[in-house]
């Protein structure tokens, strides 16, 4: 058993970091919206799903079906990330506009917004299964069947850690995710928009009195959170090369878990929570078998919350200082 752990430690670490980075990017959306609105945006899982399909659109439209190199590869990958961000951010803003703002304006309870979120989530899944995937991606009657992405990036070995190969796509996912995190952290802590977001999170009434346009801030929050989910969608698609209308479900739950684990409302907490979850799942699977992955991650969540009810980092968005 211990021998297994030693043998599989390094590959499990690399995989856990790569997968955890994707969790973390999605978790940002949950945590930001929660920080500002005290709302769990359960439709965020579909924002991620739509990001994967947005990214899929690029190779689909250009009819790319063989691995690329050099400038072409960089161009396509960047285009996929941008397309994913655009699709996800657009969805997130539309969600805010259609599913949440009307409720917020009328002072509806948070429970109503939660139901609205679940409804929007089902609506978007079925919309993709019944209409978008068959029509846009030209797959009649295959809306519920997973769609594969042709290989774009050759999976060459970059280097190895103690004899365990590390592939270029894994490093790319980890670096891209961490890069996005740093950029976002700077945005929230240094820019004017970021100050508005922090002010709204801290005290919405006072923020309005200070001249913060709260609707604009909420919109920006959804936009940024959605954009991060879009990056996650593109990175997921590039590394796992498939997607389907239901892909957001499990990711949504795991990313939400990561957000709570790290401390919901806390941006750095989302990163810590995502990576921790990714690693713990993979380490746990070595000991108990891969089918126990979910049990392990939720057990860890319960244990952490028992001793640190506010999550690992605890501190939330409103108290974060630049």
């Amino acid at each position: 058993m211990l021998n297994d752990f030693i043998n599989q430690f390094w590959p499990a670490t690399i995989d856990g970091l790569a997968f955890g980075s994707i969790y973390a990017l999605i978790a940002l959306g949950y945590t930001m919206v929660y920080g500002v609105l005290r709302l769990i945006n359960f439709a965020h899982s579909e924002v991620f799903m739509i990001g994967t399909f947005g990214a899929m659109l690029v190779p689909f439209v250009f009819g790319i079906n063989s691995p690329l190199t050099g400038i072409a590869l960089v161009g396509v990958v960047v285009a996929m990330i941008l397309a994913g961000m655009l699709a996800s951010a657009g969805t997130a803003i539309a969600l805010e506009r259609i599913a949440y703002r009307p409720l917020r304006k009328r002072g509806a309870s948070r429970l109503a917004a939660l139901i609205s979120a679940i409804g929007a989530s089902i609506f978007l899944q079925e919309l993709f299964a019944l209409l978008v995937i068959p029509e846009v991606f030209n797959r009649p009657e295959q809306g519920r069947i997973q769609m594969a992405l042709p290989r774009l990036m050759e999976r060459s070995e970059l280097f190895s850690i103690f004899g365990h190969p590390v592939r270029i796509d894994q490093i790319f996912v980890i670096l891209a995710a961490i890069g996005m995190m740093i950029a976002l952290d700077a945005l929230v802590n240094r820019s004017k928009i970021g100050r508005g977001i922090r002010a709204t999170a801290q005290n919405p009434e006072a923020a309005v009195l200070m001249g913060v346009d709260i609707n604009r801030i909420v919109r920006m929050t959804f936009l940024i959170g959605g954009g991060m989910a879009g990056v996650a969608g593109a990175l997921y698609l590039i590394s796992y090369e498939n997607t389907h209308y239901f892909v957001g479900f499990l990711f949504g739950i795991k990313a939400f878990t990561a957000a709570v684990l790290g401390g919901i409302g806390n941006l750095r907490g989302a990163l810590v929570g995502g990576i921790t979850l990714g690693l713990v799942e993979n380490y746990g699977a070595i000991f108990f078998g891969s089918d126990w992955k979910h049990v392990i991650s939720f057990t860890i969540l319960v244990l952490v919350l028992m001793f640190r009810p506010t999550g690992i980092l605890g501190e939330s968005l409103q108290q974060a200082r630049a």
Partner: protein
């Protein structure tokens, strides 16, 4: 957290079920109407057979070929201008057992069919068979392989292919003998189909004292790296996956990407679909082996009878016969033979089925008292140049 997510899952499931249900109701009205005429009473000199299975849902890809096979026999028979013509009524169950039962009632009471080809899947079969039993209506399934089905003492139920109890040991023997593997990694997807199949393969391998390592995965996940890392650490000669092609394709890709290149990859009939190759990518899928109790006529077949079937199938549907097409053809042939022999009532046809013994396309068709077919051949297929080709019977197949 768990209950909340479970509840969310429940809501989703209810939503999906509702959508499916509505869609299914919509279809039901038209589906039940016979293709020609529109009256539910059969024209004089015409009797009705039913075909039941998932014709429009997610798994339609493995139900349409047997439907086509069945249609082919019936059209061929009707062309000979017999005294009694056969009309095939289709029942689209969408693989939903409750819908299947309602359709079976309709088939018995309104359409008055004399025999049913299907139901296609095991779940719906378990629900529909008791209804048919009560109505004394014979059925022959072309694709339901759950082993427990034949243990119910049903007198009117039959299937034209061997069960999973035969498939697992067949594949296990092939791994131990045909591949001469010394160490096998067995993975299952914890489903009602995948786990028993993987267990059957395990016991067959244990009996041949092959070294085993095992793990399970959740097929709804996309990342199987923990399973893959275990396989990479274990360095087996062969890997068996009990599960469906969607997860199978992703697993195979992740294995090959992780450098697990030499170990043979095997799976069962749930992975016998082009989706396995699409999911894994043609290069990664190359050489993968899939076992199946079904017989798929490949273009290079030499047997005259099978070739004639493959040619007329291709002429009628402009596609090569796919999974279960030959079994669908044979299941319908059972009824055609019975009607040819002058049996036009359900009771008479069932008596005749107990005595049939003819050379079908997929195998010699002859039933045991419990409804199982006597022939127990398992076939091994291999992915070659991005397509699935027949390698041979499991007990004889050798890698080229």
């Amino acid at each position: 957290m768990r209950p909340k997510t479970a509840r969310l899952g429940g809501v989703l499931a209810a939503g999906v079920a509702l959508t499916l249900g509505l869609a299914a109701c919509g279809d039901g009205g038209t589906e039940a109407t016979p293709a020609e005429g529109g009256s539910s009473a059969a024209a004089p000199g015409t009797i009705k057979l039913g075909f039941m299975g998932d014709l429009t849902g997610a798994n339609a890809g493995i139900v349409i070929p047997p439907r086509n096979g069945a249609k082919l026999v019936i059209n061929e028979y009707n062309k000979t201008n017999p005294a009694v013509k056969i009309e095939l009524v289709e029942y689209d169950s969408q693989a939903d057992p409750s819908k299947a039962v309602a359709l079976a009632q309709q088939a018995i009471k309104t359409d008055k069919i004399v025999g049913l080809i299907g139901p296609a899947f095991s779940g719906e079969s378990a629900q529909v068979a008791p209804v048919l039993e009560e109505a004394k209506l014979p059925s022959v399934s072309a694709s339901a392989t759950n082993a427990a089905l034949s243990a119910n003492g049903w007198k009117y139920w039959h299937r034209v292919l061997p069960s999973d109890n035969v498939q697992g040991p067949g594949i296990g023997d092939f791994i131990a003998t045909g591949l001469a593997a010394k160490h096998v990694f067995v993975i299952d997807d914890k489903s009602e189909y995948g786990k028993p199949l993987a267990d059957a393969v395990k016991s067959a391998l244990e009996a041949k004292s092959v070294k085993l390592t095992t793990d399970s995965l959740d097929p709804t996940e996309s990342d199987f790296s923990s399973v893959v890392n275990k396989v990479a650490a274990a360095k087996p000669d062969a890997i068996f996956f009990g599960g469906y092609y969607a997860a199978g394709g992703n697993l195979l890709k992740q294995l090959r990407d992780k450098g697990v290149k030499d170990a043979k990859f095997l799976s069962g009939d749930g992975s016998l679909d082009k989706g396995l190759i699409d999911g894994a990518g043609a290069a990664n899928a190359e050489g993968a082996l899939v076992g199946c109790p079904c017989y798929i006529a490949t273009p290079d077949v030499t047997d005259a009878k099978v070739k004639a079937f493959a040619d007329s199938y291709k002429a009628a549907y402009s596609a090569d016969p796919a999974i279960y097409a030959a079994e669908g053809y044979d299941a319908a042939t059972v009824f055609v033979e019975a009607i040819k022999a002058g049996n036009t009532t359900a009771e008479k046809i069932n008596e005749f089925i107990a005595t049939v013994d003819f050379a079908g396309v997929s195998k010699q068709v002859k039933f045991e008292a419990n409804g199982e077919v006597s022939a127990k051949d398992i076939y091994i297929y291999q992915v070659k140049d991005g397509a699935i080709g027949l390698l041979g019977k499991a007990n004889e197949a050798k890698l080229g």
